[in-house]
């Protein structure tokens, strides 16, 4: 992913000179405030259009004063549908009870970037969303001041009203909206945002805005969407990645109950878009799926059929004995230092490919008519999805309209829009709206997996117990000298920069398995490996593992070699923030102060990713039959000066800890003949109620840094 601009670690960001407001009246006498801004960061820039100007429109105020605020980003359980509107409502100065939330459609011109990924929503929108609210408030003040012929400076606002203390006059926003809409908007840089002490909404818990619908089973997910006359599709791809259909018993399938269409799709070579397969379209999904069970396809499996997990492991073993193919980073003199080290530790770590397994299987509805395509898509990158659809069926993006839904889990799976491509193609062949729904088996066997990896590590501590040398031969996956998606390692990844003699090298195993970002990409694997090895080195040094980490971060950091920008440590990594969360979790968990029974112990991890600092301590028990039970987990995070929505932040962080357990315990996917072996929640098991840690205590350190995201950085430790 291309990351071009680091988020500055300063409490206040400057707005672009090109930012400006636009207003227009809307039907019903309300007001529509549009606001143009530049993105603070351009994470995922390669996935969607990023014009230099991004127009956004967000607020409608009805005559009765109810403020409807657009939630622009995809909601996948991370709570963004409440969080971004909270920022607007705070500065608009309305009571939350008078706010209604509407999910925005997919419209880059109107809303700017609409992405659920990279924990970017907070750092990218913290100031701009507040300025949207503050700009609207200022225009309402201007309208009131003109109405009363008083200076704007004498007017104040509270709870959706403008007041003039001297005259005792006051008007509700609903009464002022029509007039406000006719006024020239203020320069956003002239707007003074609230002091933290005056917050009424930010920092209070706003519960999930769709909770009432969720608990009563109202339709709101992509899978629930229906159109009159809609048909249902299933799509069979070659189990071996990149394979193509040669022929299929289509006539037999077409004769089955309810089946309307069955056809081969040739597809292309890009696994993230349309790949070859067989589409079956029927009057119900049940019929389509039943017919599919009788499908006989002859496949051209292609070159990936020669790949397997066993082959990957053998290749890694062979690489581990050879000179690495390339060097990622060199500091000081590893070879010389390790010779004279007081203690040397060697270890090999590996982790498997894992599947995202969102509970709502991939689906998308499409209607192609008169050269235009309408899509209803649960996607984390809907704007990119729209582009994929346009490429797939050969229409201009302007011919596509796309609607968003609440998403039944993303975790990075829905960053890729392959299912959007499939349904777009199918819809173009069929004279009716079509809903494509994957089976669980499709979802698990055609994922973009978190890639596995192998780390061959060697480290040394000196006589005083200081970590002085570190070598890693990282055996990962890649083709033609390039890492496959999400299989790379940042050159500044901790503990790099803090060890004077360090060498990180890598070798790449050829890989045709589709890979992609999974919640806290790279970090979700690296943290486990590096934190475990740091523990081993601490034990060798005879040091307390927590103090060992604190001491390591006291070192003056060596120069960062990457641009940073949020994915992993770069120039923006502040060691004192990590030390802060480590000290806090030491205190909260009673680390090092407890005498634990035999078979019971405490473990520790810390990791920086996506601009967030997290440390975790777990109280674990190993039963006589070698089963590990987690009694309690303490987590401390530093995501800056403000946790915007504390209740959901706790929920999300607890979920991250439980997901981390699932990664380690249950999500492994293995491959034979270039195809996934596991297919459903029999071989792949998310952590269940009876396995989850019964207590997970979440605390946040408040620091002076600008607020940043939470969904990803909470996971790795």
């Amino acid at each position: 992913m291309a990351t071009t601009t680091a988020v500055p670690n300063t409490p206040v960001k400057k707005l672009s000179r090109r930012s400006f407001f636009r207003v227009s009246a809307i039907a019903g006498g309300g007001m529509l405030l549009a606001y143009y801004m530049e993105p603070v960061t351009k994470v995922f820039a390669q996935r969607g259009p990023q014009a230099p100007l991004l127009p956004v429109s967000f607020i409608k105020i009805a005559p009765d004063g109810i403020a409807t605020i657009i939630a622009k980003n995809p909601e996948e359980g991370q709570g963004v549908k409440a969080m971004l509107p909270m920022l607007i409502a705070e500065e608009l100065d309305v009571d939350w009870k008078d706010v209604r939330i509407e999910q925005g459609d997919v419209d880059a011109a109107k809303y700017g970037s609409q992405v659920a990924g990279g924990s970017t929503a907070t750092p990218n929108n913290w100031i701009p969303m507040q300025q949207v609210g503050a700009g609207a408030r200022q225009m309402l003040i201007m309208a009131a001041a003109q109405t009363w012929s008083v200076p704007e400076a004498e007017c104040t606002t509270a709870s959706g009203r403008v007041m003039h203390a001297a005259s005792g006059k006051s008007l509700g926003y609903g009464e002022l909206a029509a007039k406000a809409a006719t006024l020239a908007p203020p320069d956003p840089s002239s707007l003074k945002l609230k002091d933290k002490k005056d917050y009424k909404i930010i920092g209070t818990t706003v519960k999930g805005v769709d909770n009432a619908k969720i608990v009563t089973g109202q339709p709101q997910y992509g899978i629930d969407f229906e159109l009159p006359g809609m048909l249902y599709a299933v799509y069979q791809k070659c189990p071996t990645y990149g394979g193509k259909p040669v022929s299929a018993n289509l006539d037999e399938i077409k004769a089955m109950p309810g089946v309307k269409y069955a056809f081969l799709v040739q597809g292309g070579t890009n696994l993230t878009e349309l790949v070859g397969g067989v589409a079956v379209v029927a009057d119900t999904w049940y019929h389509a799926n039943m017919a599919r069970k009788n499908l006989k396809v002859q496949w051209d499996e292609g070159p990936t059929a020669s790949q397997s997990s066993k082959g990957f492991a053998d290749a890694a073993e062979a690489f581990s004995k050879q000179t690495p193919q390339a060097t990622l980073r060199t500091d000081g003199d590893f070879d010389g230092t390790i010779q004279s080290a007081a203690k040397v530790v060697e270890a090999a770590y590996s982790y498997p490919f894992i599947s995202h397994v969102p509970l709502e299987p991939q689906n998308c509805t499409a209607h192609y008519q008169d050269g235009k395509l309408e899509l209803w898509a649960p996607s984390q990158t809907p704007q990119a999805g729209l582009q994929v659809a346009a490429r797939t069926i050969g229409v201009d993006p302007s011919a596509i309209t796309m609607h968003q839904f609440r998403i039944g889990g993303g975790f990075g799976r829905r960053l890729t829009n392959d299912y959007v491509a499939e349904v777009s193609w199918i819809a173009k062949q069929v004279p009716a709206p079509v809903k494509l729904l994957w089976t669980r088996e499709d979802d698990m066997q055609h994922d973009f997996y978190r890639p596995g990896g192998f780390h061959y590590l060697k480290g040394g501590v000196d006589a005083s117990g200081k970590l002085v040398a570190w070598h890693n031969h990282f055996v990962s996956y890649g083709n033609n000298g390039r890492f496959v998606a999400s299989a790379d390692l940042g050159a500044d990844e901790f503990p790099a920069r803090f060890i004077p003699n360090l060498s990180v090298q890598y070798s790449l195993i050829p890989c045709g398995i589709p890979t992609g970002a999974m919640r806290a990409p790279r970090s979700n694997a690296i943290a486990f490996v590096f934190q475990s090895f740091i523990d081993e080195l601490a034990h060798a040094a005879g040091k307390d593992p927590l103090q060992f980490r604190l001491d390591l971060m006291d070192n003056q950091p060596l120069a960062a070699t990457s641009g940073g920008g949020g994915r992993g440590p770069g120039p923006e990594f502040v060691a004192s923030r990590m030390q802060g969360v480590l000290r806090e979790v030491r205190k909260n968990s009673g680390w090092g102060t407890k005498t634990l029974a035999k078979g019971r112990g405490m473990g520790l991890g810390c990791h920086f990713s996506h601009l967030g600092y997290f440390a975790a301590v777990a109280d674990l028990q190993v039963s006589p039959d070698k089963k590990i039970k987690v009694n309690k987990i303490w987590i401390v995070g530093d995501i800056g000066s403000q946790v915007i929505n504390p209740g959901p932040a706790e929920n999300l962080s607890q979920g991250a800890a439980i997901e981390g357990m699932s990664h380690i315990m249950g999500y492994e996917i293995t491959f034979e003949k270039g195809a996934a072996v596991q297919s459903n929640f029999v071989e792949v098991q998310p952590v269940r109620m009876n396995q989850a840690a019964p207590e997970i205590q979440i605390d946040f350190l408040v620091t002076e840094y600008s607020p940043t995201g939470l969904g990803e950085p909470a996971l790795p430790p």
Binding site: E76, G77, Q78, G79, T205, K207, G208, D210, N211, A212, I214, V215, T216, G217, Q218, P219, Y221, I223, D224, E226, Y232, T284, W285, Y286, V357, P358, L359, E360, P361, I407, G408, G409, G410, F411, L437, T439, R440, G647, P648, N651, L652, Q654, G655, A656, A657, I658, E659, S662, N680, F681, V682, P686, V687, R688, M689, N690, A692, P694, E695, I696
Partner: protein, 165 residues
Amino acid sequence: MPYKLIVNGKTTTVDAPADMPMLWVLRDMLNLKGTKYGCGIGMCGACTIHLRGQAVRACQTHVSEAAGVPVTTIEGLSSDGEHPCQLAWQEIDVPQCGYCQAGQIMSASAMLAKNPKPTDKDIDAQMAGNICRCGTYLRIRRAIHRAAEMATAAKTAPSRNGHGN
């Protein structure tokens, strides 16, 4: 083949193959979308419904087995969205993505109907069949205890919500 179904107190007839799972009958024939598809093999619990008050997986229940038997889905758990589980789930703010929660509530409500004061161990045992991919288990547990409290407090009331019994 036509089957007479009694879903959420309403009688209706559907024409479906005998082995068609109730999951798809409910979702695509009766337009009750609250019952969710997650795995199709009874391993995730997202499609949990009540059959004669028992929590069952709709993906593993053929339409022929459900014919003539009272079926309750999340849409019919209460007439007003005020079953103690529905209230407690909102009060505790349980959902993240929310996709599994209808199934969680249907499993929990069936348990509470038989065991009004479940222990943590009871909850572990009863709820282990319902996956929450987002990991909201701690809040689900709290919400079940809270719903139990609410139900106990309301016990003197003459009418009960839902079709759980």
